[in-house]
């Protein structure tokens, strides 16, 4: 009962909001983790994160090899960078030797970490595309849906992004595939 109450408190209504605009920059100094030493390629997604305002990670998809403690550190840093920004900031932040393209939807931050050469607006809209698919799939999605069906969320991610590249962009096709997979269960 109390659990339901607790969950009820954290129940968030999902509203697809307009993007918030630029804010204070956070040019992070180059930390000891020099991320590019492990990859020689230059244009792709490094990781995708969904975090809530409090810092809890709802989804973390990594397209590059990191140790667990490095992952934790990255998650904390991304959270620190992204939550201080508000409407007057851009949706793009320089992060170590990459950049993060993020957008806030209600209490969740969707962050995609890409290389500096990548097209910002394309990835910004890729986030939105992804969110729209989630919305369709979960019928007015909210944070709780992501919490309880995290495995399904990963399926959606894998339909739309693979190997650090955008895989499928058609919402109809993705949903068709997802429904097919769902029917197999």
């Amino acid at each position: 009962m109390s659990l339901a109450l607790l969950l009820g408190c954290s129940y968030l209504v999902w509203v697809l909001q307009r993007p918030f605009l630029p804010g204070t920059p956070a040019l992070l100094g180059s930390g000891f983790l020099w991320l590019s030493r492990r990859s020689s390629w230059k244009e792709s997604i490094r990781f995708i994160l969904i975090q809530n305002r409090a810092g809890k990670t709802r989804l973390a998809k990594w397209y590059m090899q990191f140790d667990d403690d490095e992952k934790q550190k990255l998650i904390e840093e991304v959270h620190a960078v992204v939550t201080v920004r508000d409407a007057k900031h851009t949706n793009f932040v320089e992060f170590r030797n990459f950049k993060i393209i993020y957008r806030r939807y209600a209490g969740l931050y969707f962050c995609i970490c890409v290389d500096v050469n990548d097209n910002n607006l394309a990835y910004l809209e890729a986030i939105h595309n992804f969110v729209e698919v989630l919305n369709e799939y979960f019928h007015n999605v909210c944070e709780l849906d992501l919490v309880f069906n995290f495995y399904k969320v990963y399926t959606v991610v894998d339909e739309m992004f693979l190997a650090g590249e955008i895989r499928e962009t058609s919402q109809t096709k993705v949903l068709k595939q997802l429904l097919m997979l769902q029917s197999l269960e």
Binding site: P19, A122, L124, L162, E165, T169
Partner: protein, 780 residues
Amino acid sequence: MDSVKQSAALCLLRLYRTSSDLVPMGDWTSRVVHLLNDQHLGVVTAATSLITTLAQKNPEEFKTSVSLAVSRLSRIVTSASTDLQDYTYYFVPAPWLSVKLLRLLQCYPPPEDPAVRGRLTECLETILNKAQEPPKSKKVQHSNAKNAVLFEAISLIIHHDSEPNLLVRACNQLGQFLQHRETNLRYLALESMCTLASSEFSHEAVKTHIETVINALKTERDVSVRQRAVDLLYAMCDRSNAPQIVAEMLSYLETADYSIREEIVLKVAILAEKYAVDYTWYVDTILNLIRIAGDYVSEEVWYRVIQIVINRDDVQGYAAKTVFEALQAPACHENLVKVGGYILGEFGNLIAGDPRSSPLIQFNLLHSKFHLCSVPTRALLLSTYIKFVNLFPEVKPTIQDVLRSDSQLRNADVELQQRAVEYLRLSTVASTDILATVLEEMPPFPERESSILAKLKKKKGPSTVTDLEDTKRERSVDVNGGPEPAPASTSAMSTPSPSADLLGLGAAPPAPAGPPPSSGSGGLLVDVFSDSASAVAPLAPGSEDNFARFVCKNNGVLFENQLLQIGLKSEFRQNLGRMFIFYGNKTSTQFLNFTPTLICSDDLQPHLNLQTKPVDPTVEGGAQVQQVVNIECVSDFTEAPVLSIQFRYGGTFQNVSVQLPITLNKFFQPTEMASQDFFQRWKQLSNPQQEVQNIFKAKHPMDTEVTKAKIIGFGSALLEEVDPNPANFVGAGIIHTKTTQIGCLLRLEPNLQAQMYRLTLRTSKEAVSQRLCELLSAQF
């Protein structure tokens, strides 16, 4: 089926990125390229990503993809909104696919085939036209998607850099975005314009927006946007607008974020020098720079201003006067004191005529700051004082009093004390002639490349702005020397050309630490660092000791200097071995072009097989990289391979060579045996060539346990109770090589009274006995 193709293409991409040689490209090229024609746009999306990566490695193979990509792109861009049902996103047809296709096209130069070229140009024009049309939807998603394609198209136009009207149109479009409501667009426009500024066709067009950019600099609320504005100002700067831009950047500097100040300082310094028509302006700018952001003015900047002042007679008087006035401010930055001290020391006589800046006043002014300064500055001021003694005999007694005071003569700092003592003596003992010769005015510095650019490049890393500098310099004509992408400079000294730009190309070795005290007779400044990327440097000093240490042990630090630490960890089994070499960067700056090479001399080559994989050529500050060396002993050998490491640190080449301690005894396998066996074999190896004996003085204290440990470390088995004399050490083992195995027996007899040893080695091969004896004798 299509879904499988999509996933397969991206999987292949991932595999390719992990190890590119695994993928057999030859046969698969046509199949992969054919995917671009697929009906399913998802497949095309995945395939495009794959081809883009593959084409970067083998552009020739995938040339055919260009025309397919162009036709695909033009079909998408010109499609009506009812086609491409599934892939239309907020009234924009297949935006992500368009972006990917445009990205693919950026891997190639403009297509040669005129038909393809024409189609591409049409396509780009259509995209640019669409940007001008009224939007089909009020939603931000629509405009973002449309603009994503637009920015990528502009990026392609810039990359091709061949169609002037496209470039100009792109520039105008970006100009419109500069004043857009959305900050995202303003940010991206500033960024794109930065790259546009370097192209000769659009440079003028970019300059027209200078007012908007300056306005952005003043009014933007997001610091990263302001930063882009600064970058753009730097990129669009040329002779016509330099004073304005420098002034704007200086005023921005006063309120800039601390983290970016140093970069702005460097940029201002570079611009001021490059576009200075009137060097008095340059001097003013630098002094202003020091006044506003003194802490962030790095050494290179103020060395440069001094070099320039010394090289240009016309500006010397002005510099002296300005510096004098600047020093009168109640609180000046230490860098200003340094610059002021140096300039007054050299050229104070030029303003000494004016009663307001008489020698005594100059001296008092400098001395009033003396106690506020750090040690290097004080050292510099002491040099200035002795120069004053030469220039102005009337202040000699005053200065001598200062030098004579205990706080100088007995100063805790050695440098200051030395200078005070020597200068005092010099002033008392030397006649005026000698004094004049010793303290003659500094001769002009040889014209050399500016180290400021190197510093800026280092700071920014491989970013667009500094690459921009490269392309800019490649196009500019009035710089001395031919175009040469930094940092591949081969000679530090270019021939002096008095009226040419001092700003040159390439990275130069930084000026020697601090302007040298003028007590040296005027000679050319000698490069402190050698810039030649020559062949193997002579072996680093001290490497002999380290080498000997490694004979009996396998792990430890092989070499260390201020920049680099080399550690080793090795293990051997029979005739094979593996060595891990750890290179640690002890500094906070990255090493570039880091290449360690293993060199086996011709004699050594047939006997020892070394295999290693190349190391990442960039070593970050504080990082450690590892290199694995696989070793195989083919037959016995005497020499040791040499590890030669070359890298760039800062602007200089570094060359380190150490001997790699791969010695014959590493392949020594201990063999236990009983006393009888030992003596039997000992008699078998009674041939005089097979025995080598050495009698030598002990270098280290003769401790039994230590000796035993060393023998075991050497690789031999220590046999107890074999020798009738219990003080003697006896060992046996087998040297494993690929071709043969050589049995070895050794006996070490210590003589404690004489502090000497007699070492006898018997093996079936003379050379082996010789070498092992050598190696082992050195250990004791």
